[in-house]
Symmetry: C2
Subunit: 151 residues, 2 copies
DNA sequence: TGCTATTCTGACGTTTACGTAAGAAAGCAA
DNA sequence: TTGCTTTCTTACGTAAACGTCAGAATAGCA
């Protein structure tokens, strides 16, 4: 977990705290690590407790958000977030280089990753909009009938 | 199934056809009937083949649509569609009565059922919109950085 | 009426996404 | 160091949503 470096100043969080902060359970977090949705917590020997940063909490929150909002399996979500992980990596890379050509290449990749997510979200959004429109239509018809009766 | 009366002129569909038309499988359709998501096909003796109408196909389509779009369990979906079923019933009732008071009562119930569904859909829509907005924001930032480099 | 394709009803199998329990180990506090 | 809480790993359990298979029955057709 935490592909980015852990800030030394913030107290490391334990799995129970992360679970509470994100409204899940330790089991779920371990499970997500198990299936590769979360990177294994770094610098941690076998049997030692996992420790997390606030950034990790955000990461978990985003996973849960996407899980609940898009109708994807955790497997599909993995693929989407692989891109996410790559994105974080790219951001790091971006900070390290001054070479314009490099920066340009990295930015373009970032752009594409985000585009992919946007496509997915917009697709869902469109479908939901259609549904809402149909319901509103029905609603209007009923309202019209009611109005007639109230004359 | 088919709470409304089956039009005599249309050839009854068999479960395999319905499955194909809706992009599912016979098993799924039987399962939905089993858990009460679909009303048991009417006028059908034990062991006889189920037969469906085009209206039933639409019903199945809507179930699948809601299943895929909203993140509900089939159980929750049942409850939502129970209202749906009631709505169909109300529509039938509506056609049968001329009494304005009765019609008004029925219309108000219809209105409420639709409102409930709309609330649900709009909730999802809002969340998805937030997500899309955030992604677009990131996208803009990346684009801005890219523009800087192209000077 | 016979043939063949579907469908029927169980019943058991499977995958996903965790829950739960057990025994050992780690972390912290006094 | 002792004691208590939390976490660790391993492993089995479970609910939802179907898949799959078996053997019998049905529906449409020649």
């Amino acid at each position: 977990m935490s592909a980015t470096t852990t800030p030394a100043h913030e107290r490391p969080l334990r799995i129970g705290e992360v679970a509470e902060l994100t409204g899940t359970t330790p089991r779920t977090i371990r499970y997500y690590e198990e299936i590769g949705l979360l990177d294994p917590a770094p610098e941690r020997a076998q049997g030692k407790h996992r420790c997390y940063t606030k950034a990790d909490v955000e990461r978990v929150r985003e996973i849960i958000r996407l899980r609940d909002l898009l109708g994807l399996s955790l497997d599909q979500l993995s693929q989407l977030l692989e891109a996410e992980s790559a994105r974080a990596h790219l951001r790091d890379e971006l900070k390290q280089t001054e070479d314009p050509a490099e920066r340009k290449r990295i930015l373009k990749q970032l752009h594409e990753h985000i585009s992919n997510q946007l496509d997915l979200v917009r697709g869902r959004l469109a479908e939901l909009n259609d549904l809402a429109a149909e319901l509103e239509d029905k609603q209007r018809r009923v309202t019209a009938l009611l109005a007639e009766l109230s004359d």
